[in-house]
C-alpha cells in the first residue's frame, strides 16, 4: 500500500469533526477544511448542509477548482446575509484556520503585534470570528503547528472567543463557548482537559509527545492513553481524489511537505 500523505491524513482526521452534528451547516474555510467538511458530508454524516462557497446551499459537496461540466446541486439560496441568519441561530459548525490560537482556545486572524494602533503585520481583520465563536461550534485547522501559531500568553487580537473566565460578561458561562477540535500537522487536540484545558487526543504517526509540546506555547493536558491518528480508509482516499480532482490540497502544507 502506498504511503499516506500527511495532508490526506489531516483532512480525513478533520472530517470526523462533524460526525455527530446532525443537520447543521458545515463550513470549512480554506482548501483543507473545506475538503474535510466535504468528505464528512459525502461519507460520514449525510445530513450535513454545505454551500458552494458562494451563494447557494448544495445537496452534495462541490468538488474544488475548475468544474469541467459539473453542476452544483443547488438546494436553496444562501447569500451572505442568510449565512448570518444561520450563524445566529446556532446550527453551524465551522472549521477555520487562525493565525494564532492560545491556551483558552481564543483565536486571531486580525493582526500580529503588540501595538494595535500600528500592527507589525496586518492580516484580514476579525471577519466573522466573533459571531461564530459565541453562536455555534468551531474547530481549527493548523497546517503549521508551532509556538508562533499555538502561542504563549493570549493571542494578539482575540477575534474568536475562548474558554477564558476573565472575559465572561454577566450572565454568561464558559458553556456558551463550543470549541470542538484542533487538527494540526502534528496531532489532534481539543479543549476537553480539566477546566477546558487543551488536551492531546492523538499523535500522527512518527510524531512524539515532546515534539508536540515543543511546538506548543502553552501546557497541554496529556491523558494516559494517547492514540495514534488513524489511517484514512481507501474509500476516504478515493472520495478525496474525487472531491479534489486538481489536487489543490497538495499545496496546503507548503512546498516540500
Amino acid at each position: 500500500m502506498a504511503e499516506i500523505n500527511l495532508i490526506d491524513r489531516m483532512i480525513c482526521c478533520a472530517a470526523q469533526a462533524w460526525k455527530d452534528d446532525g443537520e447543521v451547516l458545515a463550513t470549512g474555510i480554506g482548501v483543507a477544511a473545506r475538503l474535510a467538511a466535504s468528505v464528512c458530508m459525502a461519507s460520514i454524516n449525510n445530513d450535513l448542509m454545505m454551500t458552494d462557497s458562494e451563494a447557494w446551499l448544495v445537496s452534495e459537496p462541490v468538488p474544488l477548482g475548475a468544474r469541467k461540466g459539473y453542476e452544483p446541486q443547488r438546494e436553496t439560496w444562501m447569500g451572505f446575509s442568510r449565512i448570518f441568519d444561520n450563524v445566529w441561530g446556532g446550527k453551524r459548525h465551522a472549521m477555520v484556520g487562525p493565525t494564532q490560537i492560545d491556551r483558552f482556545g481564543q483565536a486571531n486572524i486580525s493582526m500580529i503585534g503588540a501595538d494595535y494602533a500600528r500592527p507589525k503585520s496586518m492580516m484580514l481583520g476579525v471577519r466573522g470570528f466573533p459571531g461564530n465563536s459565541i453562536n455555534h461550534a468551531n474547530s481549527f485547522f493548523v497546517p503549521n503547528h508551532s509556538p508562533k501559531v499555538m502561542v504563549a500568553g493570549e493571542v494578539d487580537m482575540v477575534a474568536s472567543a475562548g474558554y477564558n473566565p476573565a472575559r465572561l460578561e454577566q450572565g454568561w458561562s464558559l458553556e456558551d463557548i463550543d470549541i470542538r477540535y484542533v487538527v494540526t500537522n502534528l496531532c489532534l487536540m481539543d479543549f476537553g482537559g480539566p477546566q477546558h484545558q487543551a488536551r492531546l487526543l492523538s499523535l500522527h504517526p512518527g510524531v512524539s509527545l515532546e515534539q508536540v509540546q515543543q511546538a506548543t506555547g502553552f501546557a497541554m493536558h496529556v491523558p494516559e492513553q494517547v492514540q495514534q491518528t488513524p489511517d484514512p480508509t481507501d474509500a476516504q482516499l478515493a472520495l478525496l481524489a474525487r472531491l479534489d480532482p486538481h489536487n489543490l490540497r497538495a499545496t496546503v502544507l507548503g512546498a516540500g511537505a
Partner: protein, 292 residues
C-alpha cells in the same frame, strides 16, 4: 416624475470632507469602483469609510482620503491581504473601528430602522469590545444577561453598483448575492448607484425581473450610467473580477512610487480612457466569473 440620472462628478460634488461613506459590494465583488475613482480624482478628504472592504478601501487609503475606517476585513479574496490597506494600518495612518461582519450588518440595519442599537451576543468574549470602547453592553429587561448593544452605523452617503437601473432609481442585482447593499441603501441619507445598464422602467415588468430588485426606489437618490463601473471588481453575471489587473495593482504596492504610477495610469484619466486602458468594455464583459 423624478429623473435621478446624474454624472459621477455630480455624485462626488454631493460629498463633503469629513462625511461617512458606505461602500457596497464585498471584497473584490460588485464594488462601485468607477465612483471610487471619481473620489480619488477629487480633493475630498477626512472620510469615514464603512465597507466590507476590497480595493475600494485600499485605493482610498493609498490616496490619503480615509480618516477612519469601519471594517470587518479588507481582502481581494485570491490575494488575501490588501496591500495598501495593510500599509495604512501598519503605519497607523488611519483610525479604525474593527468589528465582526455580522455586527456590521446589525449596525446598518439599526441605522435603516432608525433605532440606536441592536442587542446581540456577537462580540462577547473578544477584543472587539476592548478595542471599541464606544460599543457598550446593555442589561436585558427580560433576562439576567448583559448583551452587546451594536450601535447604528448611519451613513451620509452610500455608493453602490448594480447590474441595471432606470432613471427613477429602480435597481436590479442579477448576481447570486446582493451582499448587504440593501442595508447600505437603507442606512444612508443619500444613496448613489452606478449601473452597468440603464433601462426603461418597463424592463422590470417583464417575467420575474422585479424579483431581483432589493430596495424601493425611494432609497435611491441618484443613478449614474457607468458600463463596467465595477471593474476591476466583479459584477456577476455580467463579468468576473480582473485577476490580472488586481495582480498589477497589488504588485504596484511593492514599488516605492507604485501608487503614483498606478494612479497616473488608471485614475488620472477620464473613465472612458480607463476602460480603454484595461482593454475595453468588450474585454471586461468577457472576464470569466470566478469559481469558488
Amino acid at each position: 416624475m423624478a429623473n435621478k440620472q446624474m454624472s459621477a462628478a455630480a455624485v462626488v460634488a454631493q460629498i463633503k470632507d469629513g462625511m461617512t461613506i458606505g461602500i457596497g459590494g464585498w471584497g473584490p465583488r460588485r464594488k462601485p469602483m468607477a465612483l471610487v475613482r471619481e473620489i480619488l480624482r477629487s480633493p475630498l478628504k477626512d472620510l469615514t469609510v464603512v465597507s466590507y472592504g476590497g480595493a475600494d478601501v485600499g485605493m482610498l487609503c493609498a490616496a490619503g482620503k480615509v480618516k477612519k475606517l469601519v471594517f470587518a476585513f479588507v481582502s481581494l479574496d485570491f490575494i488575501p491581504l490588501e496591500p495598501y490597506f495593510r500599509a495604512a494600518r501598519q503605519s497607523g495612518a488611519i483610525e479604525i473601528m474593527e468589528i465582526d461582519e455580522g455586527l456590521f450588518l446589525l449596525g446598518l440595519k439599526a441605522a435603516g430602522m432608525r433605532i440606536p442599537f441592536i442587542p446581540t451576543r456577537v462580540g462577547l468574549g473578544t477584543d472587539v469590545l476592548k478595542r471599541n470602547p464606544d460599543i457598550r453592553l446593555v442589561s436585558s429587561p427580560y433576562d439576567g444577561k448583559q448583551w452587546v448593544a451594536m450601535p447604528a452605523l448611519p451613513l451620509d452617503v452610500a455608493l453602490l453598483h448594480v447590474d441595471r437601473a432606470d432613471v427613477r432609481g429602480v435597481c436590479q442585482i442579477k448576481g447570486p448575492d446582493m451582499y448587504m447593499d440593501d442595508l447600505f441603501a437603507r442606512a444612508s441619507r443619500n444613496t448613489f448607484v452606478s449601473c452597468d445598464e440603464l433601462v426603461e422602467s418597463s424592463y422590470f415588468a417583464q417575467g420575474d425581473e422585479a424579483r431581483y430588485v432589493f430596495w424601493e426606489r425611494s432609497q435611491t437618490t441618484g443613478v449614474v450610467h457607468l458600463p463596467c463601473g465595477a471593474h476591476p471588481s466583479s459584477c456577476a453575471p455580467l463579468y468576473g473580477f480582473d485577476v490580472a489587473h488586481f495582480k498589477e495593482y497589488a504588485a504596484s504596492a511593492k514599488e516605492a512610487d507604485g501608487w503614483q504610477q498606478y494612479t497616473n495610469r488608471y485614475v488620472q484619466c477620464a473613465e472612458s480612457e480607463y476602460l480603454e486602458r484595461v482593454g475595453g468594455a468588450e474585454a471586461v464583459r468577457k472576464l470569466p466569473l470566478p469559481v469558488y
